[in-house]
Symmetry: C2
Subunit: 213 residues, 2 copies
């Protein structure tokens, strides 16, 4: 398959977008990606935490994970990030749908090693837990060895954005038609059992972005 | 690869679960799945709406979608449903993680046709938009033809549930350690432009389950 072929959104061409800005918006927010690879003629779809990393996407996992090892070996892969943003209540089941943004990127992962590895792990921590890293102890060499950090290219991709309003019905019925937004929020912090009363919930959590999945 | 092989969770064996009840809990709630298939040596990871269907998972898409056609042709596939339920703030970056539940199912999709197709589409509508179907007009034959409905088996799977509490640090620091829950909620309903003032937001929306992605 020619590379041009696989990034063309065949269906719903109005949803296609090659806008790198939308890609950046999606990866700047997302904390979860799904990665497709094939191992021994069986496709696998693997959920992984992710973070933006210049023009790439960072993924990390255990060096002992069989699927992560396969991904790290440079097999062809597809990384998809999907954000559901609402339910579209139309006048028919057929036209009912969801508001979503999805990014599908194609390529092969690159293993990050050496001094770049710590930097990449810091970028992951800063993305998943903003402002927390300075409170944490440094990672140990053993921990660094146990973690596999990969960078996935974002130069071959397709993006779909579905955010249209449903059409009104023409049958004069009083059916409500519209969109029910879906939003992801943080709940009340749950301290670990036995935590000192003097340890206060960090103030930076109030600044963490929402709608990350 | 032997089938026993691919459903064994190699990493984090304490997270493994073969409990079909957890599978049912996951699919009863989820509205989004990611499907991995390979087409012409390129893996694809496709986001799709889903619904429970007895011991299978319903997926639907356009009959004109190239990827959905491939899936419908019965190629080996992997369907993954992931629900992120919280951020785990530990004392180190290494131990920081997420609370999540994920289901990875392996198999081949079966095309639903004939009189079963309408029944399956109704099940999808009832799952995605509970209680709304009786207000909607029936699907037209043309709409039914344009929609591909697949059932994916849930008999070969692995489940991971990560819901543990982070350990306290022993360095006597006052660092807050615990879990920040992540919850998905509905926002205020947005009526379609031009909708009659007399069309009221359906009362059943208040009964719709949350945390579906």
């Amino acid at each position: 398959m020619a590379s041009k072929d696989r990034t063309k959104v065949r269906r719903s061409p109005h949803k296609q977008s090659g806008d790198p800005l939308i890609v950046q918006q999606i990866v700047t927010r997302a904390i979860l990606a799904h990665v497709a690879i094939e191992v021994d003629d069986q496709p696998f779809c693997i959920p992984v935490a992710c973070a933006p990393y210049a023009s790439e996407l960072l993924l990390h996992g255990s060096t002992a994970s069989r699927l992560f090892k396969a991904l790290a070996s440079g097999v062809p892969a597809c990384v998809t990030i999907t954000s559901i943003q609402g339910l579209v209540l139309a006048g028919s089941a057929f036209d009912s749908s969801m508001h979503y943004r999805s990014l599908m990127a194609f390529g092969r992962a690159r293993v990050i090693e050496g001094h770049e590895k710590e930097e990449a792990l810091n970028a992951l921590t800063d993305h998943l837990f903003p402002e927390r890293r300075e409170e944490l102890r440094e990672s140990t060499p053993k921990e660094l060895l146990a973690t596999s950090v990969l960078a996935f290219p974002l130069d071959e991709f397709s993006v779909k954005v579905s955010n249209g309003a449903p059409e009104l019905t023409e049958d004069g019925s009083n059916l409500w038609i519209g969109v029910i937004p879906i939003a992801t929020q943080y709940g009340a912090a749950i301290p670990a059992e036995g935590l000192a009363q003097t340890a206060k919930v960090p103030e930076y959590i109030s600044r963490w972005p929402v709608n990350r999945i």
